[in-house]
């Protein structure tokens, strides 16, 4: 009996140690200071709003070993040619087709934690690539829209009234390879929905290999021009919640982010900030904007 009690106490002691070392209770505030305007990023004066129209966010889910994906890239580029800056494009390299190979042509890893999180949240690559989301609206009951339907969906969304405006000013600092991104949200009507704000860095004209059905087997295009590539998130996987007390008509909020480009293999002149605001309830994107970093 004495041994049992000793054993039980030993186990209780070990369990207590496990419990003590295995819990991190976080006290509020729960956010890092990144949403506070960084010291090195004084907020600039934004110009007055002019000619605000609702832009459409095109999220192209793609991968470098996906042979049908270049067709989707072309559809997106054609939409941008047709509708101009009304279309804000971004290419998220996700899933099996974006995984790098250990050797050969496709060793580069385009994937990002944020892109993977978005893909998982909407289960996009589960149905195979290429696929897209268009302002995160649903078409035939699904957020995931096949490329051949993109044009139809975009047409149906063109011309809607904007509920808010987004303006972006990027201050690039060549000396220390960094930049400050400032995004101003101005509400054009009272919005009672909970809104989320997402901001990320994208890069155009990355020359890397891509598989494509448009060339003969083994379908390799060694120097393919990758556009709108999602490179990094600036405010988490899902973005941040917008203070609901500040979404009345004519209210505005400025978000500022400092980003250090050192040790990144990004071409600074090809970088752009992409920002958008979406409804927490149904994910619908209310406004999107992009602006070059340099």
């Amino acid at each position: 009996m004495k041994n049992i009690i000793q054993n039980i106490f030993l186990l209780l002691g070990l369990s207590l140690i496990v419990i003590i070392v295995s819990c991190d209770k976080i006290e509020g505030p729960y956010t890092e200071n990144t949403e506070v305007i960084p010291l090195q990023c004084p907020v600039p004066e934004f110009p007055a709003l002019q000619n605000v129209y609702k832009k459409i966010l095109m999220e192209d889910f793609t991968g470098h070993t996906c042979i049908n994906c270049p067709t989707a890239h072309n559809i997106l580029n054609n939409l941008i040619s047709t509708y101009g800056d009304t279309i804000v494009g971004i290419a998220l390299h996700v899933g099996f087709f974006a995984a790098p190979n250990s050797s050969g042509l496709y060793t580069y890893d385009f994937r990002t934690d944020e892109g993977t999180a978005i893909d998982q949240a909407f289960h996009v690559s589960d149905v195979g690539l290429p696929q897209g989301m268009i302002s995160r609206t649903q078409y035939n009951g699904s957020y995931i829209i096949a490329p051949f339907s993109w044009s139809t969906v975009v047409q149906s969304l063109i011309g809607q009234q904007p509920k808010l405006a987004l303006q972006i000013i990027n201050n690039y600092n060549e000396t220390d390879s960094s930049f400050c991104a400032h995004i101003k949200l101005t509400f054009l009507e009272n919005i009672t929905d909970t809104l989320m704000f997402f901001c990320c860095l994208a890069e155009d004209s990355i020359i890397k290999p891509q598989m494509s059905l448009t060339v003969p087997s083994p379908y390799n295009i060694p120097a393919y021009n990758h556009m709108h590539v999602f490179r990094d998130g600036l405010n988490g996987n899902l973005g941040v919640t917008i203070d609901p007390t500040k979404t009345d008509k004519d209210s505005s909020i400025v978000k500022s982010y400092f980003y250090n480009l050192k040790q990144k293999d990004f071409k600074h002149k090809n970088l752009k900030i992409v920002a958008f605001v979406y409804k927490s309830s149904n994910n619908e994107v209310l406004q999107a904007e992009d602006e070059k970093v340099k």
């Binding site: 049992i4 070990l14 369990s15 419990i19 295995s22 099996f96 589960d126 927490s280």
Partner: protein, 548 residues
Amino acid sequence: MRFKNIFIPVFILFSIYIQAQTNNEGQLHGNFQVDMQTYKEDSLISAPKIPEKMLLNAYANLTYSKGNFTAGIRYEAYMNTLSGYDSRYNGNGIPYRFLTYKADELEVTAGSFYDQFGNGLILRAYEEKGLGYDNAFDGVRVKYQIYKGVSVKGLVGKQRFFFDKGPGIVRGVDGEINTNELLKFMSESKTQIILGGSFVSKYQADKDPLYKLPENVGAWAARMNITRGAINFNTEYAYKINDPSADNLYIYKPGEALLISTSFSKKGFGVLLNAKRVDNMAFRSNRNAGLIDLNINYLPILTKSYTYSFLNFYPYATQSNGEMGGGAEVMYKFKKSTLLGGKYGTNISINFSRLNSLDKTAPSDTSVIGISGTLGYQSDFFTPGDELYFQDFNIEINKKFSKRFSGNFIYQNLIYNSDALRKDHKQTYVFGNTGIADMLYKINDKNAIHIELGALFTKQDMGNWIMLQAEYSIAPKWFFSLSDQYNYGNEDKDLQLHYYTAAIAYAKGANRIQIGYGRQRQGIMCVGGVCRSVPASNGFILALSSSF
């Protein structure tokens, strides 16, 4: 690198096997299963074009045991995954391999293993092929019987993530005391009491630029099972500290869950009462994971599980973010040679279950409910929310009419919150009435006919359905089946379609082969409250299984 690791245990395993053959010791068991389907594009039912035209899932298990050692592997191949399964399984390999040593009170497992603490509220690793669900641990586990009636187990591992592993490390310890075995004065008692407790912690690095995330998230649970005569009482309570994740939209509220189950049963009569409350209890080894990926725990359902197709059209999916409800079932057998019992007796069971949302109010640190980076919400433990998720009332009568003829008859009245449970944003509620008549006629000892008739009436979703399924079996080898589900009540006349299936199966010994053709509707499939969506499909099916 992975394959290199795999080959070593495989080589050892077969070396032992060869030696075992020589010494005529040890035992090798295994099974093999192949499911293959062809796919034809069918725009009417939204069955997509599958470029591969044919897809295949295959599994092979081998277990070798000798003396105190047991070792096993499972080979899996998805080329490519059957439609509806997660395409991240595509490929093949040996994701499951283990070695167990058991001597006296000690058992040690290295490699892959499944386990469960209590009801699973804070830890359950298991496999469910129908869902493509497998959250096995890869690590080490030790089980130890300290004394008669007192046992503990501890484990540390990472969880399976398709052919890889999740980023989090899970550590857990569980202890159980059987008081009747431990305490002398309880050994003769008619009251049996089993007490248990467990603690689980997961570690995942915080790389989030915005949120201060807990890298170590702990959860504990306590449970009790009391049995006295015909009465059984089982309960478990679990608590989890702040665990902001994609499931709860990064709120910092702690989670908790309570299960209570009471039953009374004696010959010919039984009563079962259940209650449950789940509040923010999603617990995964990757806080960014979604779908059915990397769950550490399992939240049991209290709704009735069915095998009939129409009764599974609108299955309940556990709401890990919050649900509260209860259920009751009464079973009674009318005795033989009574008015309602007839010659052979009649079984009747009446079942009711209902689940609601939680009652949520704004937390102390913000005025809005559910905002990321806050405590999220507050919720009174004993107050259910206003939103109904699911309600099922059903009566089942099982009757043997003669030595050869028996039947099972079910009526179900269902309220299903489609918006909350399927997240399809199409309609809020589906109200359904379903009837099933399942009849079996044994022609002789070998031949039997099985007929299932079903009707589902609803004004929502896809409207009314009827079905007929006929099966003929020649025991023990042959089985033939034909069925048709007809969606005659679809509002869209073009979608008033027949969903035919036909199958032939042949079994000999431990081998079974089944060939079939089927048109499957789009839907949702759940096993134990864990669900995946099932896309529509049209094609031939081949299933092979064998064991030794």
